[in-house]
Amino acid sequence: MNMFLHELKAYRKFTIIWTLSLVGIIVLFLSMFPSFSQEAEEFKKLMEGFPEAVRIAFGLAVENIGSIIGYYSYVFLYISLVGAIQAMSLGTSIVSKEVREKTADFLLTKPVTRTQIMTSKLLAALTSLVITNLFFITVATTMAFLVETKEYSTKIFLMISLTLFFLQLIFLALGIIVSVVVTKIKSVLPISLGTVFTFFIVSAVASIIGDDALRYITPFEYFDLAYIVQNSSYETSFIIAAIGFIAAAITASYFIYSKKDIHAV
């Protein structure tokens, strides 16, 4: 319990900064929605003049983009990017900081098992992410309510917002397994930024190519927002892949951390 509370306090500033950033970004983007939807309306009228085939080729994206849900799906890409960086940094640093800041022998000579240490840290990281997501979802829902005059499905909005949490869980697990495997991490930021941006760029490539196999490689493609909007549900195979990955990574982390030689200096 002590460790859990200590980690929470240690990451308080971190959580606050990232929560404020996410909230700031979504407020900025959603506040621009009214002027944007006006332009989209004008364009949709233009679209009526085009042959059916072309409209289908372009996909429902344009039909939806004028609506709050469509717009939200787009700006959510950047939210996911920022959120993934937060989660990855959190996961990578929370375990490796003992070695990095030379507090490893202090902690490990206390009468707690390594499993207990890992659990406390994991729960603290989880709590930090839950807090961030709670604030984010509240603000996003409020903003959407304020700027959208038409009817929209709050359920779909919520489902899209929740994908941030799932994505962050995946990156948290990834960060933890990386930090446990690598012997000493001098600086967390290059690793987390590099990994996140690599996955992000792979997802940009995958979405243009339309290659299904590539979608399993990058967490950013696990939650296809167009699919969620259309079908009001998540894709089962990807949910299974996500849960599978998180479970495997966390279990492996526990195991490796229990056996690992920790460098006290």
């Binding site: 970004i25 900025l28 983007f29 621009m32 002027s35 944007f36 332009e39 989209a40 004008e42 364009f43 233009l46 085009f50 072309v54 080729a57 372009f58 994206a61 344009v62 983009i65 717009y71 787009y74 700006v75 950047y78 920022v82 960086i85 001098k186 600086s187 930021l189 290059p190 930024l193 941006f197 690599t198 760029i201 940009a204 490539v205 243009i208 190519i209």
Partner: protein, 265 residues
């Protein structure tokens, strides 16, 4: 000279990884272009009529996607993001790592002035970003020429690469200046990357909502944008002058602050 050689060696692995990454990015995107160019003209007619904010959503901008160079223009922003992250982290790390790794005392008791140390380090970073720029340049030329059906693309790509180099310089010196000023080595990298992310999100926001276009002077990403460089005939004097002011200011800030600061050994 020794410091220069040592820094080059220390950054060698990172430079190689980033160069490979950039090359893969260019290669895979141009490979996709081959697939895209087969799908025909009608998409272009549709794109011509779209309002700009809608195009920003699609990530298309004002490009003629059926030409190679138009497609490359869209790809350019991703390459710029990669290059600037590399530059910012390189700049911040190379100054702050002495204090982070506790090698500051060793270095500073050598018979070498602080100015000379900074000069050697900055020269090493300049070589690094130049190499990355050249790798991007060569891979772009090779890949784009392959799909370009004979028209010469070298001129356009050169202009884009010069723009990218200016951006790399700006972010490099933002990184070094922040690292030279801040007492805590850990915050230097996060702060530089934070600034980079914020300016990036700002540039995206400006694309979506042209009403806040006046803010474009705040974000370097808007100084050298592909669509300005390719379509509006080259560099905008305002931005070049702005860069010519920003870069020397940050450059001298680095020297001044590092010389005056009490370093944590």
């Amino acid at each position: 000279m020794n410091v220069f050689i040592r820094e080059m060696k220390a950054n060698r692995k990172s430079l190689i990884i980033w160069s490979i990454g950039v090359f893969l990015m260019v290669a895979s995107s141009m490979g996709k272009y081959a697939a895209l160019s087969a799908s025909g003209q009608s998409i272009n007619d549709l794109l011509g009529q779209m309002p700009n904010s809608l195009k920003a959503i699609m990530g298309l901008g004002t490009f003629d996607l059926s030409t190679v160079i138009g497609y490359y223009g869209v790809l350019f922003i991703y390459l710029v993001v990669m290059a600037t992250i590399h530059a910012a982290m390189l700049g911040a790390n190379i100054i702050s790592k002495e204090e982070r790794d506790k090698t500051a005392e060793f270095l500073l008791v050598k018979p070498i002035s602080r100015n000379k140390i900074i000069t050697s380090k900055l020269s090493a970073t300049l070589v690094n970003i130049l190499v990355l720029n050249l790798v991007t340049f060569v891979s772009s030329i090779v890949m784009v020429q392959k799909y370009s059906n004979g028209e010469s693309v070298i001129g356009d790509i050169t202009v884009l690469m010069i723009g990218m180099f200016m951006l790399q310089l700006i972010f490099l010196f933002i990184g070094t200046a922040i690292a030279a000023i801040s007492k805590n080595p850990k915050t230097a990298t996060s702060l530089s990357t934070g600034i980079l992310l914020i300016t990036f999100i700002l540039s995206v926001a400006i694309d979506i909502n042209s009403r806040i276009e006046n803010l474009k002077y705040l974000t370097p990403f808007k100084y050298y944008e592909a669509k300005n460089l390719l379509l509006d005939g080259g560099f905008d004097a305002v931005y070049v002058i702005l860069s010519a002011v920003i870069i020397p200011v940050l450059f001298s800030t680095t020297y001044v602050f590092y010389r005056k600061r009490d370093l944590n050994v």
